[in-house]
Symmetry: C2
Subunit: 114 residues, 2 copies
DNA sequence: TATAGCGCTTTGAAATGTCAAGCGCTTGAT
DNA sequence: ATCAAGCGCTTGACATTTCAAAGCGCTATA
């Protein structure tokens, strides 16, 4: 009944494996989720995802930008504001975020305390 | 500065946040994916997901069992074999895994070679 | 002038993950 | 009977990641 490939194959697994590793980075999903609501600046983003310190956030954003999930734009106006926006690939992660939201709502609404 | 609570206090967000944090544990998704093919023993599982050392795997399995994603069963036969199986909640994660697979296949097939 | 906001970076310490090795056990080959 | 090999882990030392706190240069507002 599993619709997944039964045998782990190196070729096909590679992309998936890479995707999993990417999404396993701490705060990655929260960042994407926050940006799904629209572009945000650095501190605004930090506040929106709640409790991520700037060092980690900075590194994560850099990594995500390098992978093409989001892009960083700096306004050259004079208070130079930064703006992080999801790319097409980043917005496509909405499906993943939605799946996680559905799962979380259903399977750990009450049990998530220990 | 004033009112920025260090503790997440919105109920609805909590489940989703918790789900994300859970899935962000290293090897978690790989473990679930491997178990979607059917129950496996410890070493078999380790080999299936490729490159996870026993210490981490052990800790992760314990955490996942505590959260009700999978269950551990020990056969009392005489080479006492262990068997890790997904619970209903665990199998429901298939939707998440599938979403990630689709995204990975589509958005990082060529870039992820290394 | 002072305060607060912006976008970060730097600093140790703490949590987390990794590697190598090994333990008790049993089975299968020599 | 002996030995290597597999099972399911645990341990202890080490590397990486994340943390909270503070601070920096800047500007706009009070």
């Amino acid at each position: 009944m599993s619709a997944t490939p039964a045998t782990p194959r190196s070729d096909e697994l590679c992309a998936v494996h890479e995707a999993m590793r990417l999404l396993q980075g701490k705060w990655t999903l929260q960042i994407v989720r926050a940006l799904l609501d629209g572009p945000r600046g650095f501190n605004d983003l930090a506040r929106a995802i709640g409790g991520c310190n700037p060092a980690t956030l900075s590194r994560r954003l850099e990594a995500l930008a390098a992978l093409g999930v989001l892009s960083k734009r700096v306004d050259s106006t004079m208070p130079p504001r930064t703006c992080y926006t999801l790319t097409e690939a980043g917005e496509a992660l909405q499906a993943v975020v939605a799946a996680i939201e559905r799962w979380g709502d259903r399977y750990l609404p009450s049990a998530a305390r220990s």
